[in-house]
Amino acid sequence: MSEQKHQSQTVHTTGHAWDGDLQEYNNPLPAWWVYTFYATVIFAIVYWTIYPSWPFGKGWIGGMSNITYVNSAGETKTHSWNTRALLLADLNQAAAAQKPYFDKVAAMSYEQIAKDPDMNGFILSAGKALFADNCAPCHQAGGQGKVGFFPNLTDDDWLYGGAFDKIHETLMDGRRGHMPAFNEVLAGEQIDQLANYVAKQSGIGHDAAKAAAGDALFHSETAACYYCHGADAKGRKDIGAPNLTDNIWLWADVPAAEGSEGKVAAIRGVIGNGLNKGVMPAWAGRLSPEQIKVLTVYVHELGGGQ
């Protein structure tokens, strides 16, 4: 204790004096702090030599750690360290790891891929990622679509056919769904009759008399619905005309409408206003053939396929 007191009573100054008696205490930094500081200085110098650091002219000093990667154009590039180059190099690695699987995809038929347990796992994971990146904005994350906008891919109804080659065709070339607006050519009364006929086909509550009139109209040359939807109203897959006799609704939001009158009104809206928003973009050229093949199998599995 005596040593402690001695220390606190002794005043260490820098030895300078201003205005006669103004002195400066000398409180040196702790040694561990000073040495840590020196260590950080050395660290910084080592860092400069390895990583990009100083601006120099119009560019910068790149440091010694370079990253080599292959860009999307297939050119091999070497760049001083940066996170973008690092990401591209990582993506190269990931692509190399996936390549054996994509090679297999290219070599196998759809049926072979779908029945191979190993490939099934790959389709489920790689297909999910591809679907999420490219398809989910419209068809939603699980492929459930959105009534009134985008078809549901998880049900058993396929507008253009659910076989592998049909799905492949849809993906490659895209689709354009169209229905004319019948408000322009038919009277409101007639559209009402047609709506009741369509409701009857799906077993929804309807006015029997109007439905009978609608039946005649459906098959007449005035409205000519059967051109596209078929004489049996079951649609035509070759032109993507939907089946009107099932429980699946894409454009008229029948499931959400209240009461049979509401449901008929929803159908009436679609007949009257028509639609030209059923556009699916073509993916040929945007995705590689193997990626489209993976997506074909993935989408096929979503709805059970045909």
Binding site: M1, Q4, P30, A31, W32, A114, K115, P117, N120, G121, L124, Q140, A141, G142, G143, Q144, N152, T154, D155, D156, D157, N243, D246, N247, I248, P255, E301, G303, G304
Partner: protein
Amino acid sequence: MQKGLEDQLGLYQKRIPIFTRSVKGPFRRFKTSVLVLAFAIYFLLPWLPWSRLDAPAQAVLFDLPGRRFLIFGLTVYPQDVIWLALLLFIAAILLFFVTGLVGRAFCGYFCFQTLWTDFFIWIEHKVQGERPARVRLYRQPWNGEKLIKVGGTHAVWLLTSFWTAMSFVAYFAYAPQLVVDFFTGQAAAAAYITVGVLTLSTYAAAGLMREQICTYVCPYGRFQSVMYEAETLAVHYDARRGEAAHGRAVARAGQRTLAERHEKGLGDCVDCGLCVQVCPVGIDIRDGLQYKCISCGLCIDACNTIMDSFNFPRGLIRYDSEKNLAAATPAKPKVQWKSLKTIGYGVALILMSAYLVYSIGTRGSFDRVVNQIRQPLYVVLSNGDIRNRYQVRITNKAGQDQTYLISARGIPAGALDLGNFSEITVKPGHSGLVQASVRLSPAQAAQTRQFELIITPQGKPAEARSEAVRFDSPARHP
């Protein structure tokens, strides 16, 4: 030399070197036995062979790249993380349980910091000699002798640290191959980094920092003090007997026998300082219970040796409780377990251990996870039927390929559709994915809230496991 650090104020206290004197006694023997046993297990276990069909022949192997932990006949997968949680829980409860009864027994006898420090002190003792020789060596200026002895000590420490690190790494790769690879520069970078870091940290912790780890770094030592009760047994100095009316005093002529000392009002403590000299954390137990005391019992051995040589009764320093020491007529110290806290910890310990044993004993040969696909929850099909889809993940924990069959209970036959895979074969340690879909008519769907998926390993119907899953329909989600 070995003053308590409290006496030294100031923020940046230089470490006061501690030179412990060796001592003989039951506590030293116990500590040595634990040390030998622990070192034998730690250093030899990675070399124990164990024949396996599909993995390296090493009894304990933490196969990180393969995501499995091979422990004798047991293969543990990451999915069994609950066992780790249970183990940690049991370890924590065991610590609380024991600390409440006999104080910091873990610190004093079992902690690896204590074990390695003990071993490093033993090396120091062997190279540099007993305490007085070491103190002399410390004080003498640098010369050839000091250079060789101190340098030699540090060299052996580093070697021990290195082999400690090597042994640690050997748990993570096939040991015989790893050691060869390591010295031929073929081992993985992770091995070199781990060995480097562990060598340095072992050397620093057991050679240089020692008791400072317990005092400044270790949180366990600090929070164990809150578990002490007045009844807790701990290493105590019997101040009433040692100090008596006029305090401790050295045994010189006229105060050498108990009768003479009691007549003069002197305590039984002959102030030989041996208890301080043997203390690995450099405290004086006669100052009372302190947070630095790791409760290693060496001062008890030291004091009993002295008491024996003076023919005084043993136990001036002993395991005792604060309550007993303060009592008017101290009884024989004994473990006081009859408190709600101790019994509670004991029950928790037994329950959790039983659960762990049960869980390991009854684990199936495979793991299964059934996830209902939630986007969308249900699909209305063209004829009005409702379809739900499920993703079934089966992880094979058995030692060989296994085929699994999936069936359903609680829904009509034919409602379950497994697509292209009515059965799936999974490699050991791997997982297989199956997409299952269930299709029910609206009437059935309205009645079905849940059903069971049954996964049966082919040829082992007894190991079948079922999983209850939900069925969603528009009737339940208007």
